[in-house]
Subunit: 180 residues, 2 copies
Amino acid sequence: MLNSSVIERHAVEKITSDDFRRTFRNHPGGVAVITADAGEGPVGLTATSVSSVHADPPTLVFSASQMSSSTPALLRAETVVVHLLSAGQVDIARLCATSGIDRFADSSIWSRLDSGEPYFPSAQSWLRCRVIERVPVSGSTLVVAEAVEASPERATDDDDSRALVYHNRTWHALGDATRF
Amino acid sequence: MLNSSVIERHAVEKITSDDFRRTFRNHPGGVAVITADAGEGPVGLTATSVSSVHADPPTLVFSASQMSSSTPALLRAETVVVHLLSAGQVDIARLCATSGIDRFADSSIWSRLDSGEPYFPSAQSWLRCRVIERVPVSGSTLVVAEAVEASPERATDDDDSRALVYHNRTWHALGDATRF
């Protein structure tokens, strides 16, 4: 009887993947595009999972879902470029979130760093990172990386430099009016 | 000569922790408060690092810095409550981001779930989670957790339910005016 009651309680508590997706849809996130080339050509994916882990050494983490076609190649790369996007670069975010297209077909919008990685020079800021750990978790891989190079500083006082946020399947831009 | 040149180039590329902090200050984040009680009393901390890893099983990750006084107790807990906050709960976010105070002194704003964890019932949504992995990285620990229980659904059409974002040391609320 005790076991059965414990099992029943557990079953009631289990949340569905739809409940979970709905909950996170309402959790806003900053927008990043991560690019890499492990020798098979450039790949790029849009992620809202990038966060700073530690400042010294400068360390960040993001997750790469097995659902993304870019993930296998991204996980083979030793270095990646993490672009932290502003409102003016929403087109790059959309591009790298679109399935079934060649995200690097337009050669006018991307280039390569001296060290070889593909990147989007129009991004407000980017960090070239050395991958230091890959942690497989269910259906995804956490990538821990140390930043080794940063983009030059940019002016941040125009509309294009407003912070970009993804929330409930929509893009938002922060500004003075959104503060409280 | 070759070695020395390589070392010099590496030194130029290394970014400082100040560069890194400045870069991430401009990366907005959704706001969460994570609570737990490993048997030593309730602890709570504010984090912008919570992100969804996978929907089935429902899995999330966050990072807990060694700099936070709540982290050691949080890391001893087998279960945690991850509150995803909206604008109406910014006071809870501020409370759990303030050092040197008893974050649970006001017993009117928190309670305990049937399963024992401390939580803030006013939060727009929360997920009770079972910790499945703790990954030490430099100066921090990544906590991977599976959601096992979700808060009841709430109405999300008033000012208090606007999405809460932390950016450049300031709180922002999303709304129709911020979409584009």
